[in-house]
Amino acid sequence: MRKRTVQLEPAVFGTINAIIMILLAVVTLYPFLNTLAVSFNAGLDTIRGGIYIWPRIWTLQNYKAVFITGTVFNAFYISIARTILATVLSLFLTTMLAYTVSRKEYAFRKPITVMIVMTMYFNAGLIPYYFLIKDLHLLNNFLVYIVPGLVSAFNMIVIRTYIGTLSESLIESAKVDGAGDFRIFMQVILPLCQPVLATVALFVAVGQWNSWFDTFLFTSSKQELSTLQYELMKLLSSAMNSNSNPALQNGADPNAAKAMVTPLSIRAAITIVASVPILVVYPFLQKYFVVGMQLGSVKE
């Protein structure tokens, strides 16, 4: 009897465990697949309900409606611009700083590290920060997306920890050959840091792409600077504040009525547009960011 349970037990456990895992995957994926289905389903048909993971009446109308209105197209463009610009600049500056504080001979290594790491644990608060942005004339300015978020202490630590794992002799031999620190940084460190830079680039890019609070606070009165996430937020709050039939209120766009699309289906389409760029990229960076997370948790 005992022998039998020992043999049976792993199989039972394995099966139950697999079922739990599959359920988890379903719970994670379903809302996304549902949104995808709604985005490809005819707007008025969706209201009848019963759309799960497959569209009933296929249409590209929702996506056309999204991109035909200049606002969303422009927001898409702004989102891409801020993501690319901020990622490139942030990577360069953060890595450069990480290199300097990774040099053991650097006199200001310790004070600079402490100063940067401290920023992880406190901030002056929203109101003083808002006034700073205002005083710097960054309100309703595209630069407000790029400049304030350029350096993150966490990313700096991740990169510094990684640089610490590189062979010191590489840097030493470059020094012997007469290379200055900047040249070593550009020609030795940057190329070697590619794996960790992939991780940090993903963190920065995702943060930038998903950001809406800065738009909401600092540029909401300038439509040309609106981002994709902010457009989505406006649609979401208008949908949540009215429990009426979504087909009746076409506040978002007069063209929508003509095209037989509803705010619900527009929202689904924008959600897909806003999430697909990240979802396409992240599985390929998986092995990098897992290591990156571990580097970050080691800290000192």
Binding site: F13, G14, M21, L93, M293
Partner: protein
């Protein structure tokens, strides 16, 4: 006579050291130039705004210059701690934070342990990749998904519960104050469970496999191994993260509550951050909002300092 000699001696000893130090600085010129831009940047964006804390001790009016502001001492703080509105947002902040933390830890650890038991590599990898997905979605998208899943007409949660016969008519989830904290907690779990499990999975993989083999020989079953080897194996990382997270107790967040909250549940949904936003930027009561912000920062720093000390006592690595 002895004294001057001593002084001369000292000077002689200092001289070469000074030049050495000077040469050291000279050699580090490039390093300094390289760290300068970020230093200026951090000073400007992280440290300079602390000057704005003066607003909390004034009756700040934007039209007046700094010299003209009326100083009121601790009046704003006194008002804060006698204001029902603030005490309510404080309760909400701590409540939601605690729920998020407990749920976040427990689910991530359970998920990591269960996923570790999956033997098929491809299946394990697929599940893991799927579990990261929501982490990369913005809160805008996640709250949109939450809101439509919970809706009364066609929301999947209500449909499933109705089909299973657990409820007999759809529940207006987002209009019931008593569900709000739970919904916020569940949203966090949905979004972050896979991501939070990364650290634990890594810790589990680094456990010495010979421990398991030895336990097997001693007749331990799967549950014994989980309980006596896996859990103790990740104990130290759990303690570190737990302590570190205690420092963030007032960081219940802003986005979820702001995006999911509505007029009906406002008493249970607003956090300190929303309070600051509402009083400060919407109503122009900058002084009060700054005071609330200062309170949050000071509590956080105190907790993090205490957490750091506690971590040292536990013999774990320092956090800072």
């Amino acid at each position: 006579m002895a004294k001057p000699v001593e002084i001369v001696d000292q000077k002689a000893a200092v001289q070469p050291k000074k030049t050495r130090k000077f040469r050291r600085f000279k050699n580090q010129g490039q390093l300094m130039w390289m760290s300068l831009p970020v230093l200026i940047y951090v000073m400007l964006f992280s440290y300079y705004p602390i000057w704005g804390w003066t607003m909390a001790f004034q009756n700040y009016k934007p039209a007046k210059s700094f010299a003209q502001q009326e100083w009121v001492g601790l009046k704003q703080f006194k008002f804060l701690f006698t204001d029902d509105g603030f005490l309510r947002v404080l309760r909400n902040t701590i409540g939601m934070s605690a729920i998020n933390m407990v749920l976040g830890f427990v689910t991530a650890i359970i998920f990591a342990i269960l996923l570790n038991e999956v033997k098929n590599k491809l299946f394990k990898r697929s599940i893991q990749t799927i579990s990261y997905l929501p982490h990369f979605l913005s809160w805008i998208i996640v709250t949109g998904i939450v809101a439509s899943s919970l809706s009364v007409d066609g929301g999947i949660i209500n449909e499933v519960l109705l089909k299973l016969g657990i409820i007999h008519e759809p529940i207006l989830w987002l209009s019931e104050p008593k569900y709000f904290w739970g919904i916020v907690g569940a949203s966090h779990v949905w979004k972050e469970v896979g991501w939070n499990a990364i650290i634990y999975l890594a810790a589990i993989t680094s456990i010495d496999p010979s421990l398991y083999e030895a336990a097997e020989i001693d007749g331990a079953n799967r549950y014994h191994k989980m309980w006596y080897i896996t859990l103790p194996g990740i104990k130290s990382i759990v303690i570190i993260l737990l302590i570190m997270n205690l420092g963030w107790i007032l960081e219940a967040g802003f986005e979820v509550q702001y995006l999911l909250g509505n007029g009906v549940v406002v008493d249970w949904s607003e956090t300190i951050d929303i309070f600051v936003l509402k009083y400060g930027l919407k109503q122009g009561n900058y002084s009060l909002a700054t005071a609330a912000g200062i309170f949050k920062t000071v509590v956080s720093i105190t907790l993090i300092y205490a957490a750091n000390t506690a971590a040292k006592r536990f013999g774990e690595e320092r956090l800072i």
